[in-house]
Symmetry: D4
Subunit: 232 residues, 8 copies
Amino acid sequence: MTRQGDGGQAAAALDLGYARVDTDRESRQGLPEVVYGPGKTAGQIRGIVTGLLTHNAGPVLVTRLDEETAAAVGEAVPGGRYDAASRLLVWRPAPTPARAFRVTVVTAGTADLPVAAEALGVCRAVGLAADVVADAGLDRVLAVRDRLQASDAVIVAAGMEGALASVVGGLVRCPVVAVPVSSGYGAGLEGVTALLAMHASCAAGLTVVNIDSGFAAAMAVHRIAQIAEGRR
Amino acid sequence: MTRQGDGGQAAAALDLGYARVDTDRESRQGLPEVVYGPGKTAGQIRGIVTGLLTHNAGPVLVTRLDEETAAAVGEAVPGGRYDAASRLLVWRPAPTPARAFRVTVVTAGTADLPVAAEALGVCRAVGLAADVVADAGLDRVLAVRDRLQASDAVIVAAGMEGALASVVGGLVRCPVVAVPVSSGYGAGLEGVTALLAMHASCAAGLTVVNIDSGFAAAMAVHRIAQIAEGRR
Amino acid sequence: MTRQGDGGQAAAALDLGYARVDTDRESRQGLPEVVYGPGKTAGQIRGIVTGLLTHNAGPVLVTRLDEETAAAVGEAVPGGRYDAASRLLVWRPAPTPARAFRVTVVTAGTADLPVAAEALGVCRAVGLAADVVADAGLDRVLAVRDRLQASDAVIVAAGMEGALASVVGGLVRCPVVAVPVSSGYGAGLEGVTALLAMHASCAAGLTVVNIDSGFAAAMAVHRIAQIAEGRR
Amino acid sequence: MTRQGDGGQAAAALDLGYARVDTDRESRQGLPEVVYGPGKTAGQIRGIVTGLLTHNAGPVLVTRLDEETAAAVGEAVPGGRYDAASRLLVWRPAPTPARAFRVTVVTAGTADLPVAAEALGVCRAVGLAADVVADAGLDRVLAVRDRLQASDAVIVAAGMEGALASVVGGLVRCPVVAVPVSSGYGAGLEGVTALLAMHASCAAGLTVVNIDSGFAAAMAVHRIAQIAEGRR
Amino acid sequence: MTRQGDGGQAAAALDLGYARVDTDRESRQGLPEVVYGPGKTAGQIRGIVTGLLTHNAGPVLVTRLDEETAAAVGEAVPGGRYDAASRLLVWRPAPTPARAFRVTVVTAGTADLPVAAEALGVCRAVGLAADVVADAGLDRVLAVRDRLQASDAVIVAAGMEGALASVVGGLVRCPVVAVPVSSGYGAGLEGVTALLAMHASCAAGLTVVNIDSGFAAAMAVHRIAQIAEGRR
Amino acid sequence: MTRQGDGGQAAAALDLGYARVDTDRESRQGLPEVVYGPGKTAGQIRGIVTGLLTHNAGPVLVTRLDEETAAAVGEAVPGGRYDAASRLLVWRPAPTPARAFRVTVVTAGTADLPVAAEALGVCRAVGLAADVVADAGLDRVLAVRDRLQASDAVIVAAGMEGALASVVGGLVRCPVVAVPVSSGYGAGLEGVTALLAMHASCAAGLTVVNIDSGFAAAMAVHRIAQIAEGRR
Amino acid sequence: MTRQGDGGQAAAALDLGYARVDTDRESRQGLPEVVYGPGKTAGQIRGIVTGLLTHNAGPVLVTRLDEETAAAVGEAVPGGRYDAASRLLVWRPAPTPARAFRVTVVTAGTADLPVAAEALGVCRAVGLAADVVADAGLDRVLAVRDRLQASDAVIVAAGMEGALASVVGGLVRCPVVAVPVSSGYGAGLEGVTALLAMHASCAAGLTVVNIDSGFAAAMAVHRIAQIAEGRR
Amino acid sequence: MTRQGDGGQAAAALDLGYARVDTDRESRQGLPEVVYGPGKTAGQIRGIVTGLLTHNAGPVLVTRLDEETAAAVGEAVPGGRYDAASRLLVWRPAPTPARAFRVTVVTAGTADLPVAAEALGVCRAVGLAADVVADAGLDRVLAVRDRLQASDAVIVAAGMEGALASVVGGLVRCPVVAVPVSSGYGAGLEGVTALLAMHASCAAGLTVVNIDSGFAAAMAVHRIAQIAEGRR
């Protein structure tokens, strides 16, 4: 494991040959490195996860993991919990504190639910108090306005034209993170249209993450929650 | 002037050398050919307009005309009326009938006003009862819901992400024609994002016309009005 | 089921957890919400359909449904009729009135037939008198001109370059709704070329819906028919 | 001025004919509506600003304003302050509180300075404690790591390939908002490449706003600051 | 001037420093090299043209030349003839033989005339019998069918959706070369939509050249005419 | 079978319900309609082919047909010959005349062979004397220059960057039809890069057809051959 | 086998019918032609490889070969060695000289390993001393700076936003060849975003090869090594 | 001026407020930082250049500078030399050593000359022996083959379809750096087509830099030359 002296610019890394695990990230960013599952073998994931569990103290997450690989990894590294809807495998989830940061994940339709599930799962694993409001289409979103306005942050998962993000952005004063979803067909261009539309939105202060990345949205909210808690 | 016999598949056309004026269109589609101004000299426009005024009976329109050319044409062919906001030059506008078809042109912001002006001007020139509701952003559109619901058709001119079209589409039962506007910057891609987003919209039955084409939207409504009147 | 008082801006919605059914849409737009099939389980569809059949009175449609799911849903909710060509599952189709609105669905080639079938099925389910004219390529469309000119609205389903829409738009005076189709290969860019070409068309008043969406075209015509009937 | 009762879903709006001023936004979102300058006449801006100053209590901003129009508006509505670098015209800037939210705006090169200036100006106008670290290219960013890590939020304005955002995202634990900048040439595609690259970034929890929009980034941080302050 | 022996693979070239004039092309392809005007000074063009007039015997053409440069070149190299509509400067045009190859250049609208003028001018300069049929829109093209069917080749210059090329392709049996034109706006994407649509066309055997290149179309027809004459 | 009188603009068409067979095309364009296989059932193809064999006298082709469907159709309609490499099913191929039009099909690599096979097969079926020169990469094309220069037309099938078309275009004086091929990966964008590059080529008079369409290239050459023969 | 005399411009080629093997390339470029595997049958590959082994003396490589075809070819042409990770089949690999050119292949994440394996395998097969540094993400790259700075050339394989190439480009003075990788999802656009970002990079002198082409990067380094060795 | 101790990861930087001059780059990469001119004032450039001249010993370059700014900077910082063709302003150019690295810059046409001039100027300023071969189109490149094969590296500047790079790549064994040029029109997409085509090229080992960046190509060659010299 390389480690540098007082200069310290080079993060401590556990070199596994096929991967260099950034064991320093927890102290630097408040959360251990999260493992992106696709393209890694069960053996590789086991190695990385074991390294993180050993060298770090916080929650350890693997994302976008299919059930079969999850079973193999889970057997090899006990204590993990897999959720098929969010495709997340989690060890040592953070407890939700008494006055937790409240996140609402809103979806425009049922096709956005898998993305919302990932956002929800990651939020909860890192100690945020998160809930989903499903299928809050444009003509149904006003019905849940109170829940949105009571949130500390809102994640909007929306495919098609992504207009729900603009509408929610205009209803609440808290941070809104938009996730374009690749559902739909034709002119939706597999999420690219929603991504561009969310950027072009007239709702001031809306921010956007990558297509289908419930994970990225949850991590953005985690950063916000950390700073908000730090200032208390 | 070519004219074919009973077969009649070839539309009658007045051949001016630089243009073939489709004098038959009035009987075929209920409105004389409309002249697209850009790229034509004042002399060419004069020739085409004179041909239309001579061989047809209804309103004659020139679109997207700059003031200078409009002045030259207007002097050469009396009776026309130019409006700088809509860039339209019109002869023999149709009278608005007693129980006219009611069109509301809605804009998402002030940047959409030139496109709305063209739609308004064309609607009125062909005998529709049209009005503009300006700057009806997402958080202001509910305030004008009653006016929208009292319309026979709604034209939505919206740039940026074009979400206003989706919202209006969910509020009214009448036909909604969306015009993407090339205002905005960056991810708006000069109207292409709005065009794609309007197509990907979840509002069922929304139709879309070309970027910035208030003219095309008005003509689509004109087709609808003709069929609605014809069925009375 | 949330319901708001006199303000009423928030549509009544039946909250099923995985979906919020907009039971108010029938009174607002003249037709119950239509269920988009892909990505929903048979159980979810059954729940939504049952809600719509209970709280609404008009036709209930599920679109883009594969045969297997259709069979499961159809068994659970009796009275539905499935059509494999259009992939539609329909309960309580509207009767076609004596002097029904006449819609002609035109295709440019046999590859456009599935899209045409969806348009046809939706039109008929909502009470329009619809027929298909198949394979009316550019050099064959004049042969069916009379049928087109006798229509109250025309839907054109065309892939490749989409030129049929321009040609039809120049032949008839009624509303023309163009559906770009993702058939073809190479430069057709899975329907994007046809979509852009239809927008750039010189046929005034042509409107366009999303790629392959026979449903959207039918709903656009349904809006037109409603307003035309309302004005009678 | 329309105002609705207890329902209140329709935001109060001051209808000026050419614009509907959302005077309710201050109470709903903590800041009066911000006026987007381009495409509006000095007279229109004067009208909107006067309405906001009258009906709201907080800071009033006009963005992307050229010097000439700013001078005309400034003369008509006294008390405003114009800054040419940020193209902002501001009335009643918010005071910076004792323990203000600290924002660092980082640029990748000097070409990003105008975008940074807008972000800086808006941050300061709404009461945040903001500073710029200019030209912190990839090989120079480690030298300012301490300043970045002492921030409550970081805004990264970067053109070309936008890699600075990824690097900063890996250095700090606070929220990072990336602004793609349209500087550069060729493969930069006027900012589109940077926008896409920032989304594809491996730095977890990075969020992105529209190309060149220092304003959007500042507003995103304003939302974060509000929630952080509210939780204190 | 480099010249190679019997191997001869390297074309003879006159090296002017700023340009290498392919003096061998006339014997290889039946026509001297054509000079593309933009980006060259009058002095450079004079040098190249003088070289071609000296070493070759056939027509010498400069394309896309503005009037000012044309005047300067024309003065320096006598015998040339400039045509402002086609922006062509031509020396030693080929005579039109008794039984010349007949080319018809068709345009979809008046905006396509400059492209048609270039095609026409190049055709005539190389000895083809060419004429223009202007503004033959979709609903007017049947009126000129006889002229099209009497041609040995047809060039179609069409912007917007380019549908005219498909229609003409279905009417005639001779070669049809389509030139997409960058006229129009919005979804026309400066000619790219027409280019793609012409390729996706259902008219079998249609070929396409670069956007706005009347020159390329004329040269394609020149190749065809050469082979047709050679087989006589 | 619809047939119109003296006007005759509407092509004679055999209406099969699912397809309208353009039986008039043979007299209009010198070749019966060619059947595009994908998306049609064996039964539909049988119906169309039978119609063409009955009402027309020339070769009948079905393109892009998989082996299984070909077998089914071939059994139902005797006399056809299927070639798996070109995916063509052909009845009544035209005899190759004594002094046939000579076509050379050149490929840039072995990945282009299927496209070349289709071009070759169609050429031969319509009576042209065609051959393939395979794998004539940039550094190997000079070795086959003589064969190219002895051709009446050259078809270049090339993927990747499509540069072979430019090189061939500079070597021969006869018509060159370029077919972009979707082989390769990454920046080749499934043939779109080759298509654009072929259009941007500096080889004057090169024409281009749709990606992977050996058929379209062969039909373009067929048009050329017809006119060349007609002029003999 | 065609061979030309003193002119020699046409490379010697072994014509196999389905392929023309450029046996002259070894003398011209210092390495026999490399065989691209996809789309070729085992029989075709055997023929080409046999030709290369017979007429050339250096290493013979087949790229992107699946295991099954590799087994068939390997059996038919003894002496080859297949590596499943790099999908390379190699005969007669070049020996690594004493003072070999040192290449370091760096990857941004484990998803880039297959591309790195191809680069590594090709480098070694042509006699370069190559090693891989895996998973050197932005926050881990400084830890391997010394290894990078001790290299004669660096290949960076990076997907997502490709920022690692920029960072490495700023750390070393030797040539850096960037390979965009098609891993990732959404805004990564299958490697296109990384390709564009690498080009827009601020790291001076970075060069880029095609998406996923470890082979192209290795060949670029091979050219550099040849020239560097030649100058010794 | 920040400077770090033994850790040294943070490059020494001269902080001018508007810019952070990377004075450490000369020792790290063998050449002082090069100043990109556009968007910087004469005063800013003077400040940066003065810093570089003071803290570094090698050549100092400003790129893409217009004549007016160059004159102002040149007056303020004596000793610089401006070249209008390359838009370069250079102080302390490196001497060309006796056995200098030989670079040939090839252009496909005269429109590529400005890009070639920048490449040439930068090469010479950093001590390489560079020359330009202008207008070496596809059919003229063989005539200069000997000059190309005598080079240590070749830079190819080519617009349109960029095929010259593929051809040159097949002729020489040395490194070839391709610069796509934004000349041409239509399907050239302002250099994007050439960029993609160069990447898709079949010439193994070709590398590519950003559109129009003669500077980037020269810097890539400088890296190669450094490593080649270092190994001598």
